[in-house]
Symmetry: C2
Subunit: 144 residues, 2 copies
DNA sequence: ATTTCTTTATCACATAATATGATATTGACA
DNA sequence: TGTCAATATCATATTATGTGATAAAGAAAT
Protein backbone atom coordinates (compact mmCIF):
# COMPACT_ATOMS: atom_id res chain seq x y z
CA UNK A 1 0.00 0.00 0.00
CA UNK A 2 1.68 3.21 -1.19
CA UNK A 3 1.78 6.45 0.78
CA UNK A 4 -0.51 8.28 -1.64
CA UNK A 5 -3.06 5.53 -1.26
CA UNK A 6 -2.90 5.87 2.50
CA UNK A 7 -3.38 9.59 2.08
CA UNK A 8 -6.48 9.15 -0.01
CA UNK A 9 -7.84 6.86 2.66
CA UNK A 10 -8.69 9.86 4.79
CA UNK A 11 -10.92 11.28 2.10
CA UNK A 12 -12.54 7.92 1.58
CA UNK A 13 -16.20 7.90 2.51
CA UNK A 14 -16.03 4.31 3.66
CA UNK A 15 -18.20 2.47 6.14
CA UNK A 16 -18.67 -1.07 7.35
CA UNK A 17 -21.63 -3.05 8.65
CA UNK A 18 -22.07 -4.21 12.21
CA UNK A 19 -20.43 -7.56 11.49
CA UNK A 20 -17.18 -6.02 10.31
CA UNK A 21 -17.35 -3.40 13.05
CA UNK A 22 -17.64 -6.24 15.54
CA UNK A 23 -14.74 -8.14 14.01
CA UNK A 24 -12.50 -5.08 14.03
CA UNK A 25 -13.24 -3.81 17.49
CA UNK A 26 -13.77 -7.12 19.26
CA UNK A 27 -17.11 -5.97 20.64
CA UNK A 28 -20.09 -8.20 19.94
CA UNK A 29 -22.94 -6.96 17.79
CA UNK A 30 -25.18 -7.10 20.86
CA UNK A 31 -22.78 -4.88 22.77
CA UNK A 32 -22.58 -2.38 19.95
CA UNK A 33 -26.36 -2.13 19.69
CA UNK A 34 -26.71 -1.70 23.43
CA UNK A 35 -24.00 0.95 23.59
CA UNK A 36 -25.71 2.84 20.83
CA UNK A 37 -29.03 2.70 22.63
CA UNK A 38 -27.21 4.23 25.59
CA UNK A 39 -25.83 6.94 23.28
CA UNK A 40 -22.25 5.90 23.93
CA UNK A 41 -21.46 5.22 20.32
CA UNK A 42 -23.20 6.04 17.09
CA UNK A 43 -23.74 4.85 13.56
CA UNK A 44 -25.77 6.00 10.60
CA UNK A 45 -27.97 4.64 7.85
CA UNK A 46 -27.54 5.40 4.20
CA UNK A 47 -31.21 4.87 3.52
CA UNK A 48 -34.41 4.55 5.47
CA UNK A 49 -34.71 0.93 6.52
CA UNK A 50 -31.13 0.06 5.55
CA UNK A 51 -28.58 -1.49 7.85
CA UNK A 52 -26.37 0.33 10.31
CA UNK A 53 -23.15 1.71 8.89
CA UNK A 54 -20.00 2.60 10.84
CA UNK A 55 -17.50 5.05 9.42
CA UNK A 56 -13.98 5.70 10.74
CA UNK A 57 -14.95 8.10 13.54
CA UNK A 58 -17.68 5.66 14.58
CA UNK A 59 -15.15 2.83 14.64
CA UNK A 60 -12.63 4.88 16.59
CA UNK A 61 -15.28 5.60 19.17
CA UNK A 62 -16.19 1.92 19.33
CA UNK A 63 -12.57 0.96 19.90
CA UNK A 64 -12.29 3.47 22.72
CA UNK A 65 -15.36 2.17 24.50
CA UNK A 66 -14.36 -1.43 23.94
CA UNK A 67 -10.91 -0.88 25.42
CA UNK A 68 -12.34 0.95 28.42
CA UNK A 69 -14.75 -1.90 29.05
CA UNK A 70 -11.85 -4.33 28.80
CA UNK A 71 -10.00 -2.27 31.38
CA UNK A 72 -12.86 -2.80 33.79
CA UNK A 73 -14.69 0.49 33.50
CA UNK A 74 -18.44 0.47 33.81
CA UNK A 75 -20.35 1.86 30.86
CA UNK A 76 -21.48 5.00 32.64
CA UNK A 77 -17.93 5.64 33.84
CA UNK A 78 -16.66 5.21 30.31
CA UNK A 79 -19.31 7.63 29.11
CA UNK A 80 -18.21 10.19 31.70
CA UNK A 81 -14.57 9.93 30.73
CA UNK A 82 -15.35 10.21 27.04
CA UNK A 83 -17.57 13.24 27.64
CA UNK A 84 -14.78 14.85 29.62
CA UNK A 85 -12.31 14.15 26.83
CA UNK A 86 -14.67 15.67 24.34
CA UNK A 87 -15.05 18.69 26.58
CA UNK A 88 -11.32 19.16 26.91
CA UNK A 89 -10.83 18.70 23.20
CA UNK A 90 -13.38 21.43 22.55
CA UNK A 91 -11.53 23.75 24.91
CA UNK A 92 -8.24 23.05 23.19
CA UNK A 93 -9.83 23.87 19.87
CA UNK A 94 -10.92 27.24 21.27
CA UNK A 95 -7.39 27.92 22.44
CA UNK A 96 -5.95 26.82 19.13
CA UNK A 97 -7.89 29.60 17.45
CA UNK A 98 -5.87 32.14 19.40
CA UNK A 99 -2.62 30.95 17.88
CA UNK A 100 -0.84 33.83 16.19
CA UNK A 101 2.44 32.33 15.03
CA UNK A 102 4.78 29.37 15.37
CA UNK A 103 8.55 29.72 15.33
CA UNK A 104 11.09 26.93 15.36
CA UNK A 105 14.14 27.70 17.48
CA UNK A 106 17.64 26.41 16.92
CA UNK A 107 17.53 24.17 19.98
CA UNK A 108 14.63 22.08 18.70
CA UNK A 109 11.82 23.91 20.39
CA UNK A 110 8.67 25.30 18.87
CA UNK A 111 7.47 28.62 20.16
CA UNK A 112 3.71 28.98 19.90
CA UNK A 113 2.59 32.58 20.24
CA UNK A 114 -0.97 32.98 21.54
CA UNK A 115 -1.03 36.76 21.45
CA UNK A 116 -1.48 39.47 23.99
CA UNK A 117 -1.68 38.87 27.73
CA UNK A 118 -5.01 40.35 28.65
CA UNK A 119 -3.86 41.74 31.99
CA UNK A 120 -0.38 42.73 30.85
CA UNK A 121 -0.79 44.07 27.33
CA UNK A 122 2.91 44.68 26.71
CA UNK A 123 3.54 40.94 26.71
CA UNK A 124 2.52 37.94 24.65
CA UNK A 125 1.84 34.46 25.94
CA UNK A 126 4.25 32.00 24.37
CA UNK A 127 4.41 28.24 24.79
CA UNK A 128 7.78 26.54 24.35
CA UNK A 129 7.16 22.99 23.26
CA UNK A 130 9.33 20.08 22.24
CA UNK A 131 8.78 16.34 22.15
CA UNK A 132 8.98 15.88 25.88
CA UNK A 133 7.88 19.10 27.54
CA UNK A 134 5.81 22.25 27.26
CA UNK A 135 6.05 25.48 29.27
CA UNK A 136 4.29 28.81 29.10
CA UNK A 137 6.09 32.12 29.48
CA UNK A 138 5.50 35.74 28.69
CA UNK A 139 7.63 37.66 26.23
CA UNK A 140 7.73 41.33 25.39
CA UNK A 141 5.21 42.07 22.68
CA UNK A 142 6.65 43.09 19.34
CA UNK A 143 5.53 46.45 18.02
CA UNK A 144 3.65 46.16 14.80
CA UNK B 1 -9.24 12.13 12.15
CA UNK B 2 -5.77 12.43 13.73
CA UNK B 3 -2.55 11.45 12.02
CA UNK B 4 -1.92 8.54 14.38
CA UNK B 5 -5.34 7.21 13.59
CA UNK B 6 -4.61 7.40 9.91
CA UNK B 7 -1.40 5.58 10.53
CA UNK B 8 -3.13 2.76 12.33
CA UNK B 9 -5.48 2.48 9.39
CA UNK B 10 -2.83 0.68 7.43
CA UNK B 11 -2.58 -2.02 10.06
CA UNK B 12 -6.33 -2.32 10.19
CA UNK B 13 -7.56 -5.64 8.89
CA UNK B 14 -10.67 -4.05 7.47
CA UNK B 15 -12.83 -5.19 4.61
CA UNK B 16 -16.13 -4.21 3.05
CA UNK B 17 -18.86 -6.11 1.23
CA UNK B 18 -19.61 -5.81 -2.44
CA UNK B 19 -22.21 -3.11 -1.83
CA UNK B 20 -19.79 -0.76 -0.13
CA UNK B 21 -17.07 -1.66 -2.63
CA UNK B 22 -19.48 -0.68 -5.36
CA UNK B 23 -20.40 2.59 -3.66
CA UNK B 24 -16.76 3.54 -3.16
CA UNK B 25 -15.41 2.64 -6.56
CA UNK B 26 -18.43 3.52 -8.65
CA UNK B 27 -18.39 0.11 -10.31
CA UNK B 28 -21.61 -1.86 -10.18
CA UNK B 29 -21.77 -5.14 -8.30
CA UNK B 30 -22.31 -6.92 -11.61
CA UNK B 31 -19.16 -5.37 -13.00
CA UNK B 32 -17.14 -6.34 -10.00
CA UNK B 33 -18.31 -9.95 -10.16
CA UNK B 34 -17.58 -10.11 -13.86
CA UNK B 35 -14.13 -8.59 -13.44
CA UNK B 36 -13.36 -11.10 -10.76
CA UNK B 37 -14.46 -13.98 -12.96
CA UNK B 38 -12.02 -12.62 -15.52
CA UNK B 39 -9.30 -12.56 -12.84
CA UNK B 40 -8.89 -8.80 -13.16
CA UNK B 41 -9.66 -8.10 -9.53
CA UNK B 42 -9.93 -10.27 -6.47
CA UNK B 43 -11.67 -10.60 -3.16
CA UNK B 44 -11.72 -13.15 -0.36
CA UNK B 45 -14.11 -14.89 1.96
CA UNK B 46 -13.73 -15.04 5.70
CA UNK B 47 -15.62 -18.30 5.93
CA UNK B 48 -16.79 -21.01 3.60
CA UNK B 49 -20.12 -19.88 2.19
CA UNK B 50 -19.76 -16.32 3.44
CA UNK B 51 -20.01 -13.24 1.28
CA UNK B 52 -17.22 -11.64 -0.68
CA UNK B 53 -14.99 -9.26 1.24
CA UNK B 54 -12.78 -6.53 -0.22
CA UNK B 55 -9.79 -5.23 1.71
CA UNK B 56 -7.75 -2.11 0.88
CA UNK B 57 -5.53 -3.66 -1.78
CA UNK B 58 -8.62 -5.20 -3.37
CA UNK B 59 -10.31 -1.80 -3.38
CA UNK B 60 -7.27 -0.09 -4.84
CA UNK B 61 -7.24 -2.59 -7.64
CA UNK B 62 -10.94 -2.06 -8.22
CA UNK B 63 -10.45 1.68 -8.45
CA UNK B 64 -7.68 1.23 -10.97
CA UNK B 65 -9.76 -1.00 -13.22
CA UNK B 66 -12.79 1.25 -12.85
CA UNK B 67 -10.86 4.35 -13.87
CA UNK B 68 -9.32 2.59 -16.85
CA UNK B 69 -12.75 1.46 -17.99
CA UNK B 70 -13.98 5.02 -17.60
CA UNK B 71 -11.10 6.17 -19.75
CA UNK B 72 -12.31 3.90 -22.51
CA UNK B 73 -9.97 0.95 -22.19
CA UNK B 74 -11.30 -2.47 -22.93
CA UNK B 75 -11.08 -4.96 -20.10
CA UNK B 76 -8.38 -7.05 -21.72
CA UNK B 77 -6.36 -3.94 -22.47
CA UNK B 78 -6.72 -2.84 -18.85
CA UNK B 79 -5.56 -6.27 -17.75
CA UNK B 80 -2.48 -5.99 -19.97
CA UNK B 81 -1.56 -2.58 -18.64
CA UNK B 82 -2.02 -3.65 -15.05
CA UNK B 83 0.09 -6.76 -15.60
CA UNK B 84 2.80 -4.59 -17.14
CA UNK B 85 2.64 -2.19 -14.19
CA UNK B 86 2.95 -5.09 -11.80
CA UNK B 87 5.93 -6.35 -13.77
CA UNK B 88 7.65 -2.99 -13.72
CA UNK B 89 6.92 -2.55 -10.05
CA UNK B 90 8.54 -5.90 -9.36
CA UNK B 91 11.62 -4.83 -11.29
CA UNK B 92 11.82 -1.56 -9.40
CA UNK B 93 11.65 -3.46 -6.14
CA UNK B 94 14.61 -5.55 -7.25
CA UNK B 95 16.56 -2.42 -8.10
CA UNK B 96 15.59 -0.80 -4.81
CA UNK B 97 17.34 -3.61 -3.00
CA UNK B 98 20.63 -2.50 -4.52
CA UNK B 99 20.40 0.94 -2.93
CA UNK B 100 23.45 1.60 -0.81
CA UNK B 101 23.00 5.16 0.38
CA UNK B 102 21.07 8.38 -0.15
CA UNK B 103 22.67 11.83 0.16
CA UNK B 104 20.92 15.16 -0.03
CA UNK B 105 22.94 17.79 -1.84
CA UNK B 106 22.85 21.52 -1.20
CA UNK B 107 21.13 22.24 -4.50
CA UNK B 108 18.04 20.21 -3.68
CA UNK B 109 19.04 16.95 -5.31
CA UNK B 110 19.05 13.50 -3.83
CA UNK B 111 21.91 11.26 -4.80
CA UNK B 112 20.94 7.59 -4.74
CA UNK B 113 23.95 5.33 -4.74
CA UNK B 114 23.30 1.89 -6.19
CA UNK B 115 26.80 0.53 -5.66
CA UNK B 116 29.50 -0.78 -7.90
CA UNK B 117 29.37 -0.68 -11.69
CA UNK B 118 29.72 -4.28 -12.65
CA UNK B 119 31.83 -3.60 -15.71
CA UNK B 120 33.79 -0.70 -14.24
CA UNK B 121 34.47 -1.63 -10.61
CA UNK B 122 36.22 1.61 -9.70
CA UNK B 123 32.95 3.49 -10.10
CA UNK B 124 29.53 3.52 -8.49
CA UNK B 125 26.22 4.10 -10.20
CA UNK B 126 24.55 7.17 -8.77
CA UNK B 127 21.15 8.62 -9.61
CA UNK B 128 20.64 12.35 -9.17
CA UNK B 129 16.98 12.98 -8.55
CA UNK B 130 14.87 15.99 -7.78
CA UNK B 131 11.19 16.75 -8.16
CA UNK B 132 11.34 17.17 -11.91
CA UNK B 133 14.18 15.07 -13.22
CA UNK B 134 16.37 12.03 -12.68
CA UNK B 135 19.71 11.20 -14.28
CA UNK B 136 22.19 8.41 -13.84
CA UNK B 137 25.93 8.96 -13.72
CA UNK B 138 29.01 7.14 -12.54
CA UNK B 139 31.20 8.46 -9.75
CA UNK B 140 34.56 7.27 -8.47
CA UNK B 141 34.02 4.59 -5.86
CA UNK B 142 34.98 5.52 -2.32
CA UNK B 143 37.57 3.27 -0.68
CA UNK B 144 36.19 1.54 2.39
C1' DA C 1 -28.42 -13.43 51.20
C1' DT C 2 -31.67 -11.06 48.63
C1' DT C 3 -32.90 -7.61 45.70
C1' DT C 4 -32.19 -4.39 42.13
C1' DC C 5 -30.01 -2.61 38.27
C1' DT C 6 -26.72 -3.01 34.54
C1' DT C 7 -24.96 -5.48 30.84
C1' DT C 8 -24.87 -9.20 27.66
C1' DA C 9 -26.71 -13.22 25.38
C1' DT C 10 -30.27 -15.75 23.07
C1' DC C 11 -34.30 -16.53 20.46
C1' DA C 12 -37.82 -15.70 16.98
C1' DC C 13 -39.24 -13.33 13.26
C1' DA C 14 -38.72 -9.90 9.54
C1' DT C 15 -36.05 -7.47 6.22
C1' DA C 16 -31.79 -6.19 3.77
C1' DA C 17 -27.68 -7.70 1.39
C1' DT C 18 -25.36 -10.86 -1.38
C1' DA C 19 -24.47 -15.27 -4.34
C1' DT C 20 -25.31 -17.63 -8.37
C1' DG C 21 -26.92 -19.22 -12.62
C1' DA C 22 -29.65 -18.17 -16.51
C1' DT C 23 -31.05 -15.07 -19.88
C1' DA C 24 -31.45 -10.63 -22.04
C1' DT C 25 -29.47 -6.42 -23.52
C1' DT C 26 -26.05 -3.32 -25.09
C1' DG C 27 -22.04 -1.98 -27.48
C1' DA C 28 -17.89 -2.64 -30.20
C1' DC C 29 -15.92 -4.43 -34.15
C1' DA C 30 -14.83 -7.38 -38.15
C1' DT D 1 -25.03 -8.59 -40.28
C1' DG D 2 -23.03 -11.63 -37.12
C1' DT D 3 -19.98 -12.37 -33.29
C1' DC D 4 -17.97 -11.52 -29.12
C1' DA D 5 -17.25 -8.58 -24.97
C1' DA D 6 -19.41 -6.38 -21.24
C1' DT D 7 -23.23 -5.35 -18.48
C1' DA D 8 -27.95 -5.64 -16.83
C1' DT D 9 -31.87 -8.12 -15.23
C1' DC D 10 -34.34 -11.74 -13.13
C1' DA D 11 -35.35 -15.68 -10.10
C1' DT D 12 -34.06 -18.17 -6.30
C1' DA D 13 -31.31 -19.32 -2.33
C1' DT D 14 -28.41 -18.08 1.40
C1' DT D 15 -26.20 -14.92 4.52
C1' DA D 16 -26.27 -10.69 7.25
C1' DT D 17 -28.67 -7.61 10.00
C1' DG D 18 -32.70 -5.34 12.65
C1' DT D 19 -35.78 -5.51 16.39
C1' DG D 20 -38.36 -6.74 20.20
C1' DA D 21 -38.85 -9.91 23.87
C1' DT D 22 -36.91 -12.63 27.25
C1' DA D 23 -33.32 -14.93 29.72
C1' DA D 24 -29.00 -14.99 31.94
C1' DA D 25 -25.04 -13.21 34.07
C1' DG D 26 -22.69 -9.71 36.94
C1' DA D 27 -22.34 -5.79 39.79
C1' DA D 28 -23.98 -2.92 43.37
C1' DA D 29 -26.89 -1.85 47.05
C1' DT D 30 -29.79 -3.03 50.91
Amino acid sequence: MGPDFTKRLKDLDLSVGIGEASRITGATATQIRYWEKKSLVSSFRREEGGNKRFNFPNLARLMLVKSMIDEGYTLTKAADILAKHRHEADHLKMIAKLLVSVDETADGYSELNFGQLQNDPDFDVVAKVNDTSATFCKVPRKQS
